[in-house]
Subunit: 340 residues, 2 copies
Amino acid sequence: MKKNITIHDVAKHANVSIATVSNVINGTGRVSQNTLNIVNNSIDKLGYYPNISARTMKKKSSNLISVIVPFQNEKGNLHDNPFYWNLVSGIEKVSRKNKFQVVLTGVTGDNDLSLNFIKERNIDGVVIIGASHNATLVKETKSLAIPSVFVDSYLMDEEVYQVFLDDEQGGYKGIKFLLDQGHKHIALIGGNKEINGVMKERFEGAKKAFAQTDITIDESIYIDVPVSMEGGYDAGEIIINHPKITAIFCFSDVLAIGLMKYLSEKKKRIPDDYALIGFDNISASQYTTPPLTTISQNTVHKGEVTANLLIDQIMNNNDIKQKKIILPISLIERESTSYL
Amino acid sequence: MKKNITIHDVAKHANVSIATVSNVINGTGRVSQNTLNIVNNSIDKLGYYPNISARTMKKKSSNLISVIVPFQNEKGNLHDNPFYWNLVSGIEKVSRKNKFQVVLTGVTGDNDLSLNFIKERNIDGVVIIGASHNATLVKETKSLAIPSVFVDSYLMDEEVYQVFLDDEQGGYKGIKFLLDQGHKHIALIGGNKEINGVMKERFEGAKKAFAQTDITIDESIYIDVPVSMEGGYDAGEIIINHPKITAIFCFSDVLAIGLMKYLSEKKKRIPDDYALIGFDNISASQYTTPPLTTISQNTVHKGEVTANLLIDQIMNNNDIKQKKIILPISLIERESTSYL
DNA sequence: TATTTTTGATTAAACGTTTCATCGATTGTG
DNA sequence: CACAATCGATGAAACGTTTAATCAAAAATA
């Protein structure tokens, strides 16, 4: 078992005290140019690297960021949706640039909801993705009293840092677009819209668009399914049994992709039989046939914004303008929609 | 600033020594049922949780697993491919079950190739994904001399723990399938096949399938593009300029999805004009039109296997049968192929 | 009963840092 | 020249565990 090189070894080698070595490593205190060189030289020569656990213990800060992904299903896997990967990608990238590392943790139900590790490890900040459905998780996180950012969670809580999309505007624009094209009977497919969350917001936006016309939303239908390709596929049956429907707004691209399969199996044509809009602009959405008109969000960017907001808190940047960051959306018109 | 509850506080509260408390926490040493109850009671009452950094320092083990994803591109983002997310999902799940947490780290080129954090944090084990292209990374990792598993890396190194797919068999089965259907001119699309790695293996398998027939592989073509939807799309132009080609084998589903878009834009029909096979069986592949015939791997499962192999090493399970685990593939026939 | 073994618990050192208080030497001021 | 201020460096305590060595009391053995 090879013995670790410690700060003591460096101190001995450089003929200085460990305090001086520590100062050199951290750029703290006062140290002359001369000893600085000597110490750095010793560090190189010995191949010294600091022990972060010791540092963490002393400083009560680990330079670790925890990203928590709650599960919708019970299989224990992370969501099968490219959206999450892109988000995490953005978070990881910015964190890395700022010398933080990302601990990725999935939490399932309330059962194994143990955020203890955050305190145990002196984790500096935590990102929670899509916690709307999980009140316990939110409460638990708040009680940690460490820097945190909730993504896509729609918490009615001014105290809390949040990043989300202008989902309402997204819902609005999607429906407005379809209405402008002359559609009158529009199906909406999404997850549970009763809970505060992205689905509810998108739906609220949709309602607003309807309200601006003389078409009442009652002529439409909302189909509540699991947000996955399979869910979208399953929703297809309901769609084709509603004879009047001419357009569909899926509150997630994965839903739209699943639905397209069902419709294509039933020989329905897009956009001829049904105009179709998705949400998220995952990269697959431009590769469907036809390419999917969708509400675009830059998910990697969202992750970057999230990480920055978190790190600003950690660093005590008091020039944080706002606790809530709402990212804009835009509608990308592709070929799954066209004028009637 | 609230003071942390330490093992000392618990000891005082329970009227025992800190050593006893430590024994209770870890289930080590001898402690009577009576004091066990008392101590546990104190722990609950005080809301004590151990400080993992202190423990890590003493035990030289952090219960942390590092997952390293090398980048192909220079944008600094993790690969935009659902494959990776599924893999990480499997790793995270098994790790969590075994009380390990996952640190996710992207490394770009050789420039910022700093694996120092692994030693600095006493990380217990490391998973490296797709390191074939990155010799420095491999060398660096080996020099760490800690438990490690390379995924999809094809290292010619018997010392090293590896998990990969039976890529050669995958390449073989795909081509054999097309040849059996009567195709004679087949295009292959993949990444760089000159480096040891999944692409090379798949190509080798393909060659074997050709060798069993009187059709020579020279009548085929290999198109080397970045492994992404965009790459597949770009390959399309080459395809349609090769008049004899009747079938295409994409060494990744994302390539196939990109290609399908190009072909559909050019009014080519699948499978009528081109038979098409993908690789990976990402969930999107069954939602394309037509659904994609593909070589299937269970990527979440692959992640689970990887984590188990790593944890077995960490736990010193000497009943590890083999250092190389090759996971089977199977061909899933969908509608992007059919007999001529 | 005298002696050994086992049980349950304790003491104290060690893990590798950071940081505060201290201190001698050098430089600056009036 | 006497004194104050600054500079560069140090010693030692503290962070919160684990664990080896030790020990008294209780139980088992002869």
